[in-house]
Amino acid sequence: AVSHYRLFPKALGRLVAALGVRELHLALTQGFWRTRAWGQPPLQAPAGAELWVWFQPTVTDVDKAWKELSNILSGIFCASLNFIDSTNTVTPTASFKPLGLANGTDHHLLRYAVLPREVVCTENLTPWKKLLPCGSKAGLAVLLKAERLFHSSYHSQAVHIRPICRDASCLAVSWELRQTLTVVFDTFSSGQGKKDWSLFKMFSRTLTDACPLASQSKVYVDISPKNKEKELLEVTPPPASVHEAIVQGDKRTYAVYDLLSPSLFNTSRSLNVQLKWKRPQDSSELPTPVLHAQRYVSGYGLQTGEISTLIYNTHPYRAFPVILLETVPWYLRLYVHTLTIITKGKENKPSYIHYQPAQDRRRPHLLEMLIQLPANSVTKITIQFERALLKWTEYPPDPNHGFYVSSSVLSALVPSVIAMKDVDVEQSPLFTSLFPSSDGSSYFVRLYTEPLLVNLPTPDFSMPYNVICLTCTVVAVCYGSFYNLLTRTFHVEEPSRGGLAKRLANIIRKFRGVPPL
């Protein structure tokens, strides 16, 4: 077998070819995206590690390939993806449609798994940077220094591989590898009080040149005027061009810095983009996103509980459907007959439900529903569960921390408040792939809710020691005394004169003023 790689990393290429993978999406996230404070995320991922893969139809044993794939990826990315097994893998039927070219979608070829307990740190960032052709030595990636990136409120790195058409006529198919890194630096709340930022302040580095292998290397800064007020902010150095686009239903203006254009580094050797607010800003006036959601666990005690999901549709006049995917581990036994969906006080019946009950220690619960959200409403979905008692070797090392339930996924085509026109795909392919639009009137959104932390009834792990001590004491005392009584022989003994104990007792009696023994 022969294969040659130039810019595409060989490790991923051999993996994809050897295991028959059609699409691969891996995201490692630390933190949770606060939609109400930060707005709609460009690309959200659930807390922990998320891996979903579409396999080629030629793969015969998908489960075996899935297990091998998660183990190899765990080695490449230094993440413990090898804990992905059948107890946290599901096969969604409606939620994760392929993002690249697809020839028919048999959902038996799809596997989805989330590890909510996974922690992301420097050793995951390093192999991610190693996949880039220029590494972290040139281009935009020089900014990605680990000590600044992890001092942030939200950090998410992702790798996406999918097949795409090589050109407009689509005669040949190529693999596309997209690596995304989403970081939120919250300087306002981290003590500095001002919302001005610069590249140097955020990354402690500036841009010096572009990667010589890149065909495009650009920096986009969002300078959209709010409430039609101009001159609210100032960007230095002044941008060479300004790009306007409709992103997520909103008209936005971006200042563009093209690192490959020779005029950019004429005046200074390095590029440090700075943004200053002309007027002091009060708390952010980001528009509420059209779709956002919340999830929590309610109930008391360690036997039963209830999972509630609240989905908000803030669009003033449009209703749209949303697909909700919930994966609940087997030890929280869901009772589907208690599933209620209430919108505006009335019951809302979903038009499509796919429920796969769990099998103990083998498979988690899978619940997929297509729910219609009326305009300007809140939908509450509740389901009750019962907590199971695990065997004592199945508890993780810190059982009183709790058990994580992975985030539920909401996928929807949200109608935009402003109609969009088709953005020119050729001009800025990266930009459009980040904010795609299938047609002008709606855009695709995938949201994740919070992960839940649930306490299971935990046994007392010191009980085996207690049992041994108790049993042995009881046996020793009872058996010992019975045996002694049965087999003791008595014989006369001379009274002894002194003895240390008697002398000590006499000393104490003298102090007390009591006659000695």
Binding site: A1, V2, S3, H4, Y5, R6, L7, P9, K10, A11, R14, L15, A17, A18, L19, I72, G75, I76, K130, P133, C134, G135, K137, A138, D209, P212, L213, I468, C469, T471, C472, V475, A476, Y479, G480, Y483, N484, T487
Partner: protein
């Protein structure tokens, strides 16, 4: 025991006078190679002496040795491991002057007769050393496994025998701003590398791939040499070159075979031209070096552009012929197919496009078969020792059947080696290695490994000790009383 079937064919006019018996006859020569104090390998050459047939005479009747070799090839029995030696008359013009032995591409050789049987025997023995295995090659194959062998570390330089190898060609470009490297690897692989790998496909499965690495620097800063106005890497700094590059090369995630890396380093513009200096101080002609069991590195210098104002990056079109020559030579060295020093009267035919001659393939197979059998025996021995030490390990049925299969295959491999069937011996040894590895590395062996004895004590002692103490005390009292009663039998109160 290793057996080699050899056929010695005498052309008319070349029969020495002092043959012990008339043609055709058989003879067996055995020599012993001792690997270490306890083990030794017997090599047994089964020689068959006969005279030529009419077709062979016609084939030998051509002008040059090369044509004779080509003509004789279809007439021989071409099983692996066997050799055919044709003895031509002293006056024959097939062999050029001064050459008395000619070794062909396939498994045959031409020897000039003359001087009687003794010289013929010495020439034949020399030939066997060249074309088949030598003492040192067998000892080297076993030296990894046998402790206490007399050979030094130089013997462990060849690649270990394995079921497959992955070959990776990686050009390293530390300065993509100045040099844009274009290399047509796919065509070069198909034209130059694939024929060699097809020939070697009997030995193992090969897969080839390539990647281009950018911003990969060598670990050593080269010195500037004023006289030649070039940069030099001295021979003793070469071992430090590989380490920082190794991290970028990446291991093959999808397979378990060992990887052979061939790197082509294009030095940065500020460090051009760069030459490797050998121990005597002279620059190495091919500008390449290889590391045993790892791969090879070649430095490819780019000429400075004629005008200093040339636009960067310079486009470098790599000359694949020169590069592939070096890499293929390094591949041969890595496998241990090097040509040692030969006496001047032996002429070796170059193998042409295929990269190696049939008899070289045989040498590789002999060494690998012997090494495989040694590996099987060490693996199974360690498994047995492990079981002796830790009695807790549970051996499942399929692990046991793998062990039996490994033993059976190893025994059949040794039997086939003793009769001279190299091909089937090699296949049997490969099966034996696979089975033994599968048995040894089976994950089910580890299940009951950690059940230490002190855990058992910790559970049972707190229960039995308090019960046992009164019993023991009363037993002691009984014994004491019995002894007292024996002493004073008639003490009546």
């Amino acid at each position: 025991q290793l057996a080699v079937p050899v056929a010695v064919v005498f052309a008319p006019g070349s029969v020495p006078g002092d043959l012990p018996r008339p043609l055709p006859f058989k003879d067996v020569q055995e020599t012993e190679i001792s690997v270490n104090v306890r083990t030794s390998v017997t090599s047994c050459y089964q020689m068959v002496y006969r005279s030529t047939t009419a077709q062979e005479e016609a084939a030998l009747d051509v002008a040059t040795a090369r044509e004779a070799d080509a003509a004789l090839h279809p007439l021989q029995d071409a099983s692996l491991g066997s050799l055919t030696v044709y003895v031509v008359p002293e006056t024959s013009c097939l062999l050029p002057q001064g050459i008395s032995v000619y070794v062909g591409k396939h498994r045959s050789a031409l020897v000039r007769a003359g001087g009687g049987l003794a010289t013929l025997h010495t020439r034949l023995r020399q030939l066997m050393q060249v074309m088949s295995f030598t003492d040192s090659s067998i000892a080297a194959a076993l030296s990894d496994r046998m402790p206490g062998s007399q050979l030094g570390p130089d013997a462990r330089r060849h690649l270990k025998s394995s079921l497959g190898y992955e070959i990776t060609f990686s050009p390293l470009n530390p300065d993509p701003k100045s040099h844009a490297v274009h290399w047509d690897i796919e065509d070069a692989v198909n034209r130059y590398v694939q024929p060699v790998l097809d020939k070697l496909s009997l030995v193992a499965n090969f897969s080839v791939d390539s990647q281009i690495l950018y911003y990969a620097v060598l670990g050593v800063t080269p010195r500037f040499d004023k006289e030649s106005s070039s940069f030099l890497l001295s021979a003793h700094s070469l071992p430090h070159v590989i380490n920082p590059v190794e991290a970028r090369l990446g291991s093959s995630a999808a397979s378990l075979y060992p990887v052979l890396n061939f790197l082509l380093y294009v030095p940065e513009r500020s460090h051009s031209p760069l030459y490797i200096q050998d121990k005597d101080g002279a620059p190495v002609s091919t500008n390449a070096f290889h590391s045993p069991r790892w791969g090879g590195i070649m430095l490819y210098n780019v000429e400075a552009p004629a005008s200093p104002q040339a636009s960067l990056p310079l486009h470098v079109y790599v000359d694949m012929v020169r590069v592939m020559e070096v890499f293929l030579a390094q591949l041969r060295l890595l496998f241990g197919l090097s040509r040692e020093e030969l006496p001047p009267e032996i002429l070796l035919e170059s193998p042409g496009n295929e990269g190696l001659a049939d008899w070289e393939l045989d040498r590789l197979l002999w060494a690998h078969t012997v090494e495989n059998i040694a590996t099987v025996s060490t693996t199974l021995n360690s498994l047995a020792q492990l079981l002796d030490k830790i009695g807790n390990i549970v051996i499942k049925d399929d692990v046991a059947s793998e062990v039996y299969r490994a033993v059976a295959s190893a025994q059949s491999a040794m039997a086939k080696l003793a009769t001279g069937h190299l091909h089937s011996a090699f296949q049997a040894s490969k099966e034996a290695v696979t089975s033994s590895e599968r048995a040894f590395f089976d994950p089910s062996l580890l299940h009951l490994l950690y059940f230490p004895d002190d855990q058992k004590f910790a559970i049972y002692i707190p229960l039995f000790l308090p019960m046992a103490v009164p019993i023991l005390l009363s037993l002691a009292k009984i014994v004491r009383e019995a002894r007292q009663r024996k002493k004073e039998p008639t003490k009546i109160d």
